[in-house]
């Protein structure tokens, strides 16, 4: 009887001990230090990975091309585990690494969403890992226009008339960096429906449109909205007149008259002032849209052996034999 009572007492003590000894706050915590997490997240978005590891052969990314891709999580996991393996020399260390790896992987999955948040000031997002996709561009458009805008969208609703951006939700970029003057790498947090590549908006540009055969035109724009006036499914334009005998001088006054003449819809009013003229000459940045096409369905990763058939599997086979 006495034994039983003491046993209960001992158990009570043990529960007390357990509730304090196992407290993460006291024991240094299960989570990895922030510094380490940040470092590994940067690795996960391939920062510091030499370019040859990303594109092993030049033919995979020829000149003037854009190549979309999925990010292979197994590859990045291996990369991170390589980091963790540093200094793990004894069996005890390896047990430690093995014990921590699942938790750390989940932690990195969560932190990964914010890989670029510090740069863009976006709000922090948590949650399980998404499928990461992205693209590489190699083009003179990258070297000639530093600061190309990249946006990725996921379709959440139908497109409304007149607004191509309706029903689209902008997605987070995990990385957007020029790896070389002509090569741009973008990583997107999820699978986008549309990717937009937009001319950098270095201020506002003014100019004319170059039509077929080298003729220059100016599209008539509505001063109230800045949008092009369309008639019969085509932009209303005016040919650009030039000063006679001069090297490419736009005859501004004549152009203003030509625009007024072209304006049969009456968007301009009776006269054209400097402000309206500037608006007519405004050149919006060009935007190229990729996507909304049939993406190839996920395929079994059938190199030659099943993806899961690794040395671990071999171990099991050997043991059971």
């Amino acid at each position: 009887m006495r034994h039983t009572i003491d046993g209960v007492r001992a158990l009570e003590a043990s529960v007390r001990a357990a509730s304090t000894a196992g407290d993460p706050a006291e024991g240094g915590g299960e989570t990895a230090p922030d510094e380490l997490t940040q470092l590994l997240v940067r690795l996960r978005v391939l920062e510091g990975v030499p370019f040859e590891y990303l594109v092993p052969d030049e033919e995979l990314l020829p000149e003037e091309s854009i190549r979309f891709f999925y990010l292979d999580r197994n590859w990045t996991d291996a990369l991170v585990q390589g980091v963790l393996a540093v200094g793990a020399v004894s069996t005890r260390d390896r047990i430690d690494v093995a014990a921590r790896w699942p938790g750390l992987r989940d932690e990195l999955d969560e932190a990964e969403h914010d890989a670029r948040a510090a740069l863009t000031g976006a709000a922090s997002v948590r949650g399980a890992a998404e499928t990461v996709t992205g693209f590489l561009v190699r083009s003179r458009a990258i070297s000639g226009w530093p600061g190309v805008q990249v946006r990725a969208y996921r379709r959440t609703g139908d497109e409304e008339a007149e607004d191509p951006l309706s029903g689209l939700e902008e997605m987070r970029l995990l990385r957007l960096q020029r790896l070389a003057p002509a090569i741009l790498l973008a990583l997107i947090d999820g699978i986008p429906d549309q990717v937009h590549l937009e001319e950098p908006r270095t201020g506002i540009q003014f100019g004319v449109d170059e039509g077929a055969g080298g003729a220059f035109t100016v599209a008539l724009k509505n001063p109230a909205t800045g949008e092009r006036v369309r008639r019969g499914g085509r932009d209303v334009t005016a040919d650009v007149p030039f000063r006679r005998g001069a090297p490419g001088l736009v005859a501004v006054e004549a152009l203003a008259r030509a625009l007024l003449a072209a304006d049969t819809g009456g968007v301009l009013g009776s006269s054209l002032g400097p402000a309206e003229y500037a608006l007519q000459m405004l050149q919006l940045p060009y935007r190229q849209v990729f996507g909304e096409e049939n993406v190839p369905a996920p395929l079994e990763d059938l190199l030659t052996v099943p993806e899961r058939f690794s040395i671990i599997e071999l171990t099991r086979v050997w043991r059971e034999a």
């Binding site: 990303l54 999925y70 980091v83 100019g207």
Partner: protein, 692 residues
């Protein structure tokens, strides 16, 4: 505007923002009259003088918000009008003759159309005969351009066009892309009217028209197409070359005297006046001056040869200005012609330049054309050209693997598969599995080649970590903290068990104790608490369990089924234990002969022995702890004399199995521990080591 992130923004464009007063000296006179009675006297006028100033000959660079095309940029600007954005919204009208006559204009000038004078006295920055009155807030010198009347007629905006070239833009300040750091969001913009041509280099000059507005062309005629690229297209290239400004006599002070000594060409003696020019003519230009300057040096020789020396034709002051500038090799490379040579007899006009920059118009393809022409595809695919050599195209599999040449560890050259992190198809992520060496990730493909993608990634991670000492330090610290924390938990758990064992006098081996402790704790606490006290992960302790030796008497007594007291007494006194008949029951009852005839008589003894051995092996930790804490002894169905040795080996195997389990979760042999001792334990162990 295209929508900025976060919704649409609006910009407002205004025709002009005129200042309430334009620059100049003003008299402010305050007069007061007292009505009614004249005898009250008069109040004298209060007169104050006010001077309104603003930039006149120079523009501080802080006043400029941006330029397009950017300074010194190359690009296909064929359809773009150059522009300059000024922070001060009223600037283009501050010295204007009227609202229709802003005093600033942006002109594009290309090679051979003007002479750029980077530093002239302000009085000579305007055309001869023009005199600007009023204060000069900008210091004694400024830059200027010298052009002919023909250039003004063909390149400068006309009187009618001038008002169109300036406007004011009001942008929302929160749109950083548009406001570009401006404080108030109001920006004055000056546009040029000239379209750049491909392959040409231009200097955009923001010039002051103050006092010279009447020089602008009036209602020039219009045509639909233009064909000219420069004003002096009809002038031959040799004439333009001849017109290049000589880098005159002051130059060699800055460049080349030290180098000249080594050159053979300058060895000959020459009159003092001529020596420098000749020296320059044969001097190889320094690399930093570049190609254009080299041309200029050569021209100097031509210049001398033809006898049209700078000193002879250029007025002294102007020559000095040019020399002073050109000698130090600053800036203007393209606007360095002497217009007197290109357009003899033309009237020359000068305009102050408040700001200027150069750009080059390159190529025909603009952003839209380039992006539209991009070849779209998936990374990890390579197309073989229908024609031409294909040896550059690598072997690519459907999965995105590429065949790469590699060198094996033994030095053999071979081909391996490689795939980077960027793949053409979605790939399923493998479940969590710890990896400790890169070789664990090597895979062999069906064709016998090795696949090294992930192994390379692992190795790369290792190398990247090792390249940064801070990373290594962070890893070590993290690991150390984990050990400390877990040790704390273990000590806590051990103290609990110690209490239990003291009270219940349980002499149990470590593994059994943990299992028992788990059972007990589960009766009071939830499983979470239990997990914290007794981690699921087996403790690995290389030291042998000493509990067996704690009480030898008990151990022996249990093993031989003898009374503990007898054994203890014997051990204490050094006497043999007394064997009672009961101990020897089978033998004494049946006799040895009978036992020899019928071996089955020994069966109870064997059973007893097996039980004892089983108990012993329990003490040497030969238990398997199943998940959930169930304590299961290894199956030892038959007693056997040789089994003791086997039990030892098995205990070790079990321990090792736990280690393996920790290293490779999931790779554990599981519950199917072979019932029999493995045939060749040392061999098995060595094999397992190899695979680790």
């Amino acid at each position: 505007m295209s929508p900025a992130p976060g919704g649409r923004r609006t910009i407002v464009v205004h025709d002009r923002i005129e200042p309430p007063v334009v620059a100049g000296d003003y008299e402010v006179r305050a007069a007061q009259t007292i009505g009614g009675d004249a005898r009250l006297g008069t109040v004298p006028d209060d007169v104050r003088y006010v001077r309104v100033t603003g930039p006149r000959y120079r523009l501080p660079s802080t006043e400029i918000l941006s330029t397009f095309p950017p300074a010194n940029s190359d690009g296909p600007f064929v359809t773009r009008l150059a522009q300059i954005a000024l922070r001060r919204r009223t600037l283009p009208w501050e010295r204007a003759d009227g609202p229709q006559r802003p005093w600033l204009a942006l002109v594009l000038l290309t090679d051979g159309e003007a002479t750029y004078l980077p530093s002239v006295p302000v009085a000579s920055a305007v055309t001869e005969g023009v005199r600007l009155t009023g204060v000069n807030p900008d210091g004694p010198t400024c830059s200027a351009i010298e052009v002919t009347g023909r250039v003004v007629r063909q390149v400068f905006p006309s009187r009618q066009e001038l008002p169109f070239t300036s406007h004011v833009r009001e942008v929302p300040l929160d749109d950083t892309e548009l406001a570009q750091g401006d404080e108030d969001g109001w920006v004055a913009v000056v546009l040029s009217t000239r379209l750049p041509r491909p392959g040409m280099r231009y200097r955009a000059c923001l010039i002051s028209l103050e006092g010279q507005w009447s020089e602008l062309p009036d209602n020039p005629p219009v045509e639909n197409r233009f064909s000219k690229a420069t004003v002096y297209e009809h002038v031959s290239a040799t004439t333009i070359e001849r017109a290049r400004q000589p880098r005159t006599d002051e130059v060699p002070l800055a460049i080349g005297t030290s180098r000249a000594g080594g050159a053979d060409a300058v060895a000959r003696k020459a009159p003092a006046a001529g020596i420098d020019r000749e020296r320059i003519a044969h001097e190889i230009p320094p690399a930093s001056v570049g190609h254009d300057a080299a041309d200029a040096w050569r021209t100097a020789a031509t210049f001398t040869a033809t006898g049209v020396t700078g000193d002879a034709t250029v007025p002294g002051a102007a020559a000095a200005e040019r020399a002073g500038h050109l000698g130090v090799g600053r800036g203007s490379v393209i606007l360095d012609v002497d217009l007197r040579v290109i357009d003899p007899g033309a009237r020359l006009l000068r305009f102050p330049v408040l700001a200027s920059w150069e750009f080059r118009c390159e190529g025909k393809k603009d952003f839209a054309a380039l992006v539209r022409a991009l070849d779209v595809g998936l990374l990890g695919t390579a197309e073989r050209p229908a024609r031409g050599p294909t040896d550059r195209v690598p072997d690519v599999s459907d999965t995105g693997h590429v065949v790469l040449a590699a060198t094996e560890r033994d030095g053999d050259a071979s081909l391996t598969w490689y795939r980077g992190p960027l793949v053409p198809r979605a790939i399923e992520r493998r479940p969590v599995a710890a990896v400790h060496v890169a070789d664990q990730l090597r895979r062999v493909a069906e064709d016998g080649r090795v696949e090294l993608g992930e192994a390379a990634a692992f190795e790369l991670g290792r190398l990247l970590a090792l390249s940064a000492p801070s990373t290594v330090a962070a890893l070590r610290e993290w690991r150390r903290q984990g050990y400390v924390r877990r040790r704390g938990a273990r000590v806590g758990g051990a103290s609990v068990l110690e209490g239990l064992l003291t009270h219940w006098e349980l002499a149990l081996a470590d593994g059994a104790a943990v299992a028992l402790g788990r059972r007990l704790l589960e009766t009071v606490g939830d499983s979470e608490v239990v997990d914290r006290v007794l981690p699921d992960r087996p403790l690995v302790d290389p030291l042998p369990d000493l509990d067996v030796l704690a009480d030898p008497a008990r151990t022996i007594a249990t093993g031989f089924a003898l009374p503990v007291a007898d054994v203890r007494r014997s051990l204490d006194r050094g006497t043999r234990p007394v064997l009672a008949d009961g101990h020897m029951a089978p033998v004494s009852a049946a006799g040895f002969d009978a036992l020899r005839r019928d071996a089955s008589l020994l069966q109870p003894l064997k059973t007893q022995l097996a039980t004892s051995v089983s108990a012993l092996t329990g003490l040497t930790r030969a238990f398997v702890i199943r998940p959930g804490g169930q304590l299961v002894p290894h199956g030892l169905e038959e007693g056997d004399a040789e089994q003791e040795a086997g039990v030892e080996a098995q205990a070790e195997t079990a321990e090792e199995a736990e280690t393996v389990e920790a290293l490779f979760p999931g790779a554990r042999p599981g519950d199917s521990v072979p019932p029999q001792v493995e045939p060749d334990p040392p061999a098995a162990r060595s094999q397992r080591r190899r695979e680790q």
